[in-house]
């Protein structure tokens, strides 16, 4: 730096004072140096705290503000949205965010992001804090996966974050019932988990419901656990009377799934992502552990009023199956209505061995030959519900199972009441056929003849009396003849005594002859 006064000579020969300071560097240069240092430090700090930049795509930027919306995990700021731009095809928005330093590890393919805003769903209110603070982006980091920088944001927050201990299970059912995402999963009516998703299986028409059971309750799910829909209020009026099932208030409102393990700790703990059937209600879950069913067709000629689908099939009062279908068929050929009742028998209820169809056919035929029949019985007198009862009627009319139809036909016999009615009808019919008038006429004639006979018999009276008197006399004399003390008797006694003496002498003689056979010729020895 040079500053020189212009010119070399002053006016009037006065030596000029030249303001000139050279050499040392002015201390003022410390100022830009300090500025550089401070600015450099700030810049270095800002730069060193910069984490990776990521891109998250969302369907809508609702709640997103460039430069303001934070990315938080467990309420700790881990990033900041820097820009929000539309996708080129306008199908959504892309938020570019700057994460904090060292966040590389969390940013993996499985890491999910979602916008946290106030929500009322699944019986829970969430994100209320964002009413005041504004929305933020929630994050669920997954550590062990491939690193990623581009993410697709979730439209709804995940029910369960990956950091929560527990297990997922898959339930399959033919309809979703009242279960929705967020519905509670109950064990003995205590909430132990939540429904995570509920969707149609892409392969078939079943509904796949994913649930998450929190630790430590996830060990309660055993391989034999049964899940049922515990939604709302279930009321049923069946042969067993009125039945109402309810779960907790929450499950009444938003549905729920209950489970129980019939064998408790004996069964092995179910693995994560194990599949289970989801039954419609508790009853179904309890009953339906016989997966093997045999279908039969029954034809009843009587009214099936009171027989509903689901009515039990009992053998001597023990349920062994249920009615699955009741219909009516018109047979064009015979112009008759027939009522086919389809029943499902669960053989597992009465036998544990697996049998081949041949063996089954054999044993069923034998049983039917022994008199096994199906009949309708009143299950509930109050409601008039009918059940199908199986029993052995040894004196039933012979019948056979029809195996040729698609569903084998099982023989039936009429209801006891119906049988009585039928017999009575038959008797009345026969009575109606009797020739009562003719019988009356004949009877009248016979009675007249009888009367004449009787009148005639009146004349016989006196003679009869005479005869009787005579007979009486005869008997009296006979009586006198044999009366004790009568001469006849005395004589008879005497005669008998002599006969007795004679007999004794004869005995003596016989002895003599035996001892001395020669006495017959030489006479008695010793008596001489």
């Amino acid at each position: 730096m040079t500053e020189q006064g212009p010119g070399g000579a002053g006016r009037g020969g006065v030596a000029e004072a030249v303001v000139e300071q050279r050499g040392r560097i002015s201390i003022v240069w410390l100022i830009p140096l300090v500025a550089v240092l401070v600015a450099g430090f700030v810049a270095w700090r800002a730069f060193s705290e910069r984490g990776p930049a990521i891109r998250i795509s969302f369907k809508s930027a609702e709640g997103l503000d460039a430069g303001k919306t934070l990315i938080k995990y467990k309420d700790v700021q881990v990033g900041l949205v820097e820009t929000v731009t539309l996708m080129p095809d306008l199908s959504g928005v892309v938020a570019e965010a700057r994460m904090v330093k060292d966040s590389d590890r969390w940013l993996t393919e499985k890491t999910t992001f979602w916008i946290v805003k106030p929500r009322i769903a699944g019986g829970q209110v969430s994100g209320l804090g964002t009413l005041l603070s504004g929305s933020y982006i929630g994050m669920d980091p997954v550590l062990d996966a491939k690193k990623a920088r581009e993410f697709v944001g979730l439209e709804v927050p995940p029910i369960v974050t990956t950091s929560e201990p527990g297990r997922y299970f898959v339930l399959r059912s033919d309809r979703a019932g009242a279960v929705s995402v967020g519905s509670p999963v109950l064990f003995r009516q205590i909430q132990v988990g939540q429904v995570v998703s509920s969707e149609l299986d892409p392969k078939d028409d079943f509904v796949t419901t994913r649930i998450f059971v929190h630790a430590p309750y996830d060990d309660r799910v055993r391989v034999d656990s049964r899940f049922w829909n515990a939604s709302g209020i279930q009321a049923s009026l069946g042969a067993n009377g009125v039945k109402i099932d309810t779960g907790s208030l929450v499950s009444i409102l938003i549905g729920g799934i209950s489970f129980d393990s019939p064998h408790g700790e004996e069964a092995a703990v179910a693995a994560a992502d194990a599949q289970f059937p989801l039954y419609e209600n508790m009853q179904a879950a309890e009953e339906r552990h016989y997966t093997n069913t045999v279908t039969w067709q029954l034809y009843f000629d009587q009214s099936v009023r009171g027989l509903a689908v689901g009515a039990p099939v009992e053998f001597r009062g023990i349920p062994i199956g249920e009615v699955t279908d009741v219909r009516i068929e018109f047979d064009r050929l015979s112009h008759r209505f027939r009522i086919p009742v389809r029943i499902e028998i669960e053989p597992g209820r009465f036998t544990s061995e697996e049998v081949t169809p041949e063996q089954r056919k054999q044993s069923v035929d034998a049983l039917v030959a022994a008199g096994l029949r199906a009949q309708l019985k009143t299950g509930n007198l109050l409601t008039g519900q009918l059940i199908v009862a199986l029993d052995i009627f040894p004196d039933a009319k012979p019948a056979q199972v029809v195996w040729t139809t698609p569903i084998p036909e099982f023989p039936t016999i009429p209801t006891p009441l119906e049988e009585v009615t039928a017999n009575l009808t038959r008797i009345v019919d026969r009575l109606g056929k009797l020739p009562i008038e003719q019988i009356g006429e004949d009877l009248k004639g016979s009675l007249a003849a009888l009367k004449v006979t009787l009148q005639k018999s009146q004349d016989v009276g006196p003679a009869l009396k005479d005869t009787l008197e005579k007979a009486n006399n005869a008997l009296a004399s006979a009586n006198a003849l044999i009366a004790p003390g009568s001469p006849t008797t005395a004589e008879l006694q005497r005669a008998l005594l002599s006969l007795s003496d004679a007999a004794r002498s004869l005995g003596l003689a016989a002895d003599q002859i035996q001892a001395q056979p020669n006495s017959l010729i030489f006479g008695k020895k010793g008596s001489n």
Partner: protein
């Protein structure tokens, strides 16, 4: 022009004492001159004027970058924190319809500091190049720089007052950002830079040429 050349103190070797105003004849020895009356240091031109000005202008230019990049003020209102840089504040007021306010902030905080830096740079370069181009206008520019320099502090005042006033805990809190520090530094440093610049240097060249 030499005939019309006015007599200057520099040419006469005369210097005015800055403190007591005594006019003194400087001796040949350029430095170390003192006022015979009050003892203050006498010099014909501000010593090291250009060097100082350069240093300060460069420092101000360095500080100007973080002053605009970093947030000046962080407003936390109901749990929601918004950090604004100067420019984002201007854009905010502009988009929210307060364009007079936006113009004021823009002028005071962006336009004026930039203009000051530009003018000082221009003056420095022109003096270095011994330019004799329109000295009157250049002096006018210098005067303008000196006059408006302090008005840039409006921003800093606003920030400091707001920070002091708005302390409502979770409801609303305002905190000064690093940008404000750098911005304050820019304003102060440019004021010093303008101060350290000796406008007489503008004229020296034209004087020299005219002699």
């Amino acid at each position: 022009m030499s005939a019309a050349a006015p007599a200057t103190a520099l040419a006469a070797g005369l210097a005015n004492c800055h403190e007591c105003g005594l006019l003194a004849q400087l001796r040949a020895a350029g430095h170390g001159a003192r006022c015979p009356r009050c003892g203050a240091e006498l010099h014909l031109r501000k010593p090291r004027s250009l060097e100082r000005t350069w240093a300060l202008v460069i420092a101000a230019a360095i500080c100007y970058v973080p002053a605009n990049v970093l947030p000046v003020m962080a407003v936390t209102s109901l749990g929601k924190t918004e950090a604004d840089t100067i420019m984002s504040g201007v854009i905010y007021f502009l988009t929210s319809g307060d364009w007079p306010l936006a113009i004021i902030i823009f002028t005071a905080s962006i336009f004026v500091p930039m203009m000051k830096l530009a003018i000082l740079l221009f003056l420095l370069i022109s003096v270095h190049r011994r330019s004799s181009w329109r000295p009157v206008d250049r002096t006018r520019m210098y005067r303008l720089t000196e006059a408006i320099g302090r008005w840039s502090m409006v921003d800093i005042y606003v920030v400091t007052i707001m920070v002091a006033l708005v302390r409502l805990g979770n409801l609303a809190t305002i905190e000064a950002g690093w940008g404000a520090v750098f911005f304050g530094a820019v304003v102060v440093i440019t004021i010093f830079a303008a101060e350290s610049f000796d406008p007489r240097l503008i004229w020296d060249e034209s004087e020299a040429r005219s002699t």
